[in-house]
């Protein structure tokens, strides 16, 4: 959806709404399905990256994000719901001494709203079974070698909570603004299998 509500777009939007209403009336689509499609179109790792960049530049936001993820992410205009049931979000932060990595050992639970659809490897039996057992070796296979002195916590999203990692802010980025910082953050960083 564009921000332009005038002219041809408005006419087009009205026609789309009319077709939607007809499809629903005739039982061909469910309104919830359309909401879900719209939700998936908005769900991408940029959302998670924006949250991380805000946390890096705003210590107050960082604190709120770690304390109550669901409440804080609204400040950046994203939510864990959106056509689907709202899911509990727990945000965990990497530091100089601790590193976090996320998995769902039972299936493939994942914060879709913030990261978009999950990558194939996240759903693979190899990742799901090995990262809980030997995270350092798995991270090394992603070309991400953690120093021995950094403690590793693996978060299993096996029930009702979805997890997102706040990577460490890279050195030498003091001069970058929030938007440029967000561009540094990758999907893999938000899962915890990359440094950023």
């Amino acid at each position: 959806m564009g921000g332009d509500h005038g002219g041809a777009n408005a006419e087009l939007a009205a026609r789309v709404r009319h077709v939607e209403a007809l499809l629903e009336q005739r039982g061909l689509v469910d309104a919830k399905e359309l909401d879900r499609e719209a939700f998936l179109a908005r769900a991408k790792p940029d959302n998670g990256a924006r949250l991380v960049a805000r946390a890096w530049v705003d210590p107050g936001f960082r604190d709120r994000l770690l304390l109550d993820g669901n409440a804080a992410i609204g400040e950046v205009g994203v939510s864990m719901g959106g056509g689907l049931q709202e899911q509990r979000l727990k945000v965990v932060e990497n530091t100089a001494t601790t590193h976090n990595v996320v998995v769902c050992t039972l299936c493939s639970c994942y914060p879709v709203a913030l990261l978009g659809p999950s990558p194939t490897w996240y759903k693979s039996e190899a990742y799901r079974s090995r990262v809980v057992r030997d995270p350092r070796s798995v991270l090394a296979e992603f070309d991400f070698v953690l120093p021995d002195e950094v403690a590793v916590t693996v978060w299993d999203a096996n029930a009702e909570t979805r997890f997102m990692v706040v990577p460490r802010r890279p050195e030498g980025t003091e001069g970058l603004d929030e938007r440029a910082l967000a561009d540094l953050v990758t999907r893999n960083g938000l899962i915890g299998v990359a440094a950023v």
């Binding site: 509990r88 727990k90 050992t105 039972l106 809980v132 057992r133 030997d134 995270p135 350092r136 403690a151 590793v152 916590t153 693996v154 978060w155 299993d156 999203a157 096996n158 029930a159 009702e160 909570t161």
Partner: protein, 90 residues
């Protein structure tokens, strides 16, 4: 209902291997961990999967050492477990 466990409590995950769906991952069965926090109350997945009435029940985030789970390793694993999956460790 008040939570049975508080952050810092030591708990043991059930070692029962049920014939139905459960959210107790096999690798934590029988292991002892420490409660991190309550995640709130949610209907028990085991009951929901079987179409049984499922009362909301507290889910806890529980931290286990790799040594406790696998006999080796220097990391920790945090798993979400419903209250009825857990036993108090004295």
């Amino acid at each position: 209902m008040a939570d049975l466990f508080a952050p810092g409590d030591r708990v043991r995950a059930t070692s029962v291997d049920p014939s139905h769906h459960t959210r107790v991952p096999r690798y934590v069965r029988g292991a002892v961990g420490t409660v991190v926090e309550s995640e709130g109350a949610f209907p028990l997945a085991d009951d929901r999967a079987r179409g049984l009435p499922a009362e909301p029940q507290t889910v806890y985030s529980v931290r286990f050492t790799a040594r406790e789970l696998f006999g080796e390793g220097d990391h920790e694993v945090t798993v979400a477990l419903w209250e009825s999956y857990l036993r108090e460790v004295s």
